[in-house]
């Protein structure tokens, strides 16, 4: 897995062509263009193919088994994966934990955990949220108490995406109740098969078990399973995840939804309706304007400039645009949008599937309300 070539030295066009031909030649026989997340047992072949190729962690440095891609190259890779409709793998390890360990982890932790993410041996879940701690994440109550060489964990996490597929979970746990909430939190690594860990699946609005609750009942982990210093978990977790913050606002979800809206409209016989077209071109302009705004951020990344809090504008606009497109889809598909599946059975062109899949995008990773609050204060400098 080491000895990856320096992809950044390639021209963008060559790199794109290489990614494209690899994807076309290697993508396994699993769903493409899926609107819902696939489970590990379905997506594992693709994970392992990428792992074999050394492409599972595009942003990690090459010396750690990654591709060391610049933002520009990474974006090309994402675009090509999207274009082909590659399923999203269980990427919490590659995308979240890996970069976090590279920054804050001990050498032992890096040596223990990074190779297992690269190989697909470990599948990680993110355990931040709790029933009482959502937007107000610093209110976490799940507690870890030091006992000899162990941390003893008691409490609950929830909304763990694909937590049922994971063999490890990283959590934010309260380790000091006497200080300001943010100052008493630690970042811990917990094996899902540790005694005292139980999970309960939660069905989502699409009636699929995509997330779960995780309960901790006197769960013991060794003292060295803490990342960063004790009580420093808040800054560890909040550490900016580089260009992922920009990519989350990429226009591709909306752009592909807009294309599907066009198909649905043709099928429903309203494509030529001037009233429909009026609304379609409005959305089309929104997608194009978002694309241009997004590009300004990608340029900043390419030039190695700072990305500020204002990047949240991208996520807000993209997620709400995706939702607005899905709403017009529902109207256009008329009664068929109320069915569980389209009469033709194609989920991609089922308005309701897109409508439902668009809902969480304004809730997770910081709700649009929280993002707007943050923009108003940090960017517009409005008073509290």
């Amino acid at each position: 897995m080491t000895g990856q070539p320096d992809y950044n030295a390639m021209s963008d066009d060559d790199f794109r062509a290489m990614v494209r031909s690899f994807v076309e030649a290697s993508y396994p026989d699993i769903p493409r263009h899926s609107l819902s997340r696939l489970h590990w047992h379905e997506v594992k072949p693709w994970y392992l193919i990428l792992s074999q190729k050394g492409w599972i962690c595009p942003t990690w440095p090459r010396e750690h088994g990654g591709m060391g891609l610049t933002a520009g190259k990474h974006l090309i890779m994402i675009e090509e994966f999207e274009r082909y409709g590659c399923a999203r793998v269980n990427d919490i390890g590659p995308v979240m934990l890996g970069p976090l360990l590279l920054r804050h982890g001990s050498e032992e932790q890096k040596a223990q955990f990074l190779p297992r993410i690269l190989s697909g041996e470990d599948v990680w879940a993110q355990g931040y949220s709790e029933p009482g701690a959502g937007s107000d994440l610093a209110a976490v109550r799940c507690e870890a108490v030091r006992d000899g060489d162990d941390w003893v964990i008691n409490g609950q996490k929830t909304w763990c995406t694909l937590g049922m597929d994971a063999n490890w979970v990283f959590i934010l746990a309260r380790t000091d109740k006497t200080v300001k909430k943010q100052a008493g939190i630690s970042f811990l690594l917990v094996p899902m098969d540790a005694p005292g860990v139980t999970i309960r699946n939660i069905e989502n609005l699409e009636l699929e078990a995509e997330f779960c609750e995780v309960f901790f009942d006197d769960v013991r982990v060794p003292a060295d399973h803490i990342v960063g210093r004790v009580n420093d978990g808040w800054s560890v977790a909040k550490a900016l995840l580089g260009h992922e913050r920009v990519f989350i606002g990429a226009p591709r979800l909306s752009a592909s939804a807009l294309a599907r809206l066009g198909h649905i409209a043709r099928r429903a016989g309203v494509w030529d309706d001037p009233v429909f077209r009026d609304r379609y071109v409005t959305l089309q302009c929104d997608v194009m304007d978002l694309t241009d705004l997004f590009e300004t951020y990608v340029d900043r990344l390419r030039d190695g400039r700072e990305i500020g809090a204002d990047v949240a504008m991208l996520k807000i606009f993209q997620s709400e645009l995706y939702q607005r497109i899905s709403e017009l889809m529902m109207e256009v598909a008329a009664e068929d949008s109320g069915l569980r599946a389209t009469p033709e059975g194609d989920r991609q062109l089922h308005a309701a599937a897109t409508w439902l899949s668009a809902r969480p995008t304004t809730i997770f990773g910081g709700s649009t309300e929280i993002m707007r609050n943050m923009l108003a204060k940090a960017v517009l400098e409005l008073p509290s």
């Binding site: 107000d136 009636l207 009233v275 529902m330 256009v332 008329a334 109320g338 809902r359 969480p360």
Partner: protein, 355 residues
Amino acid sequence: MMDGTMNEDWIENARMIVESARAVVPADGNLARVRAARFQGCGFDRAVMAQAAELGWPLMRVAEDAGGLGLGLRETCALMEVLGAGLLPEPVLSTITAAALLQEALPEEAMTGEAVIVTAWQDATGDQGWQGGARDGTLQGTKVHVPGADGADLFAVLTCAGVAIVPRDAQGVTVESAETLDGCRPGRVRLDGVAAEILPCPRAEAVLQDARLAHAAYLLGLSGRALEITLDYLRVREQFGRPIGSFQSLQHRATEMKISLELSRAAIFATARRFDAGADPRARAHGAARCKLRASALAMLVAREAVQMHGAMGITDEADIGLFVRKAMAEANTYGSPREQRATLTGLLAEEHAA
């Protein structure tokens, strides 16, 4: 036209009907039955349809001299609002509509609830046309999105030639049902040279307008209850040491929903009053489209906001709010999507200016 329409006692009538609805819609808003009935069998409970018949609902829109109750559309809308709040999966409106079309021809067993009758009127998805389906005195064609099709015994098939009663097991009838998001099973009824007596039905268009308005009232009830549940959540859910309902951005959006809800309610009941008093065809077409347009938009607005304001809880199937969301999605476009209502309204506007 109907005896009850001029009756100033409509409020008392409506109160009694709403009261009677408590037999099938629990006053405490419990949705255990509704939840359990989803995705099971035909998607509704025949016993509840029998209860509805006992309460006389099928006869609401049958004239008194035809053996019915001759109640007005306001009463019907009041009932539908309650049924919407309770997310009733039974095809009550479709039965009321069948009876209104058939009047004295409504079969005895449909009146008693022994048989479930629903209306098969719609020719195509995304189109409010109902004229197809009759050829040379027999029934030939397809009717789509027939509510409760999977569990119905009789269809009141509406065509340009009139209305016919068609038993589900009649020669030449095939029913293909499909599951909806909320777990019901409406269907497509294919009629292949079905022999049936086709009765003239001069009020067909008006009855469908009534149904469109009554369906708007169902959406109103659904939206009202979903808003209440969401407001309750805003009051009890705490983040940052305070109820999330104290955040002004959420307060303003909750207010927006309330305004939409009251506009919808006012429009529906004023329109029903005008229908009851005898509105002309243009006013009827306009009123039904206007009310349905707002009610659909309201239901989807509340669905979106309810999910958002519930946070991740709103993305679960476990929370009851999800039942409202899926019902809104399933029902917002029946009796015409907002796009179709706007098309009706622009058509009427054009006629007006041509005249």
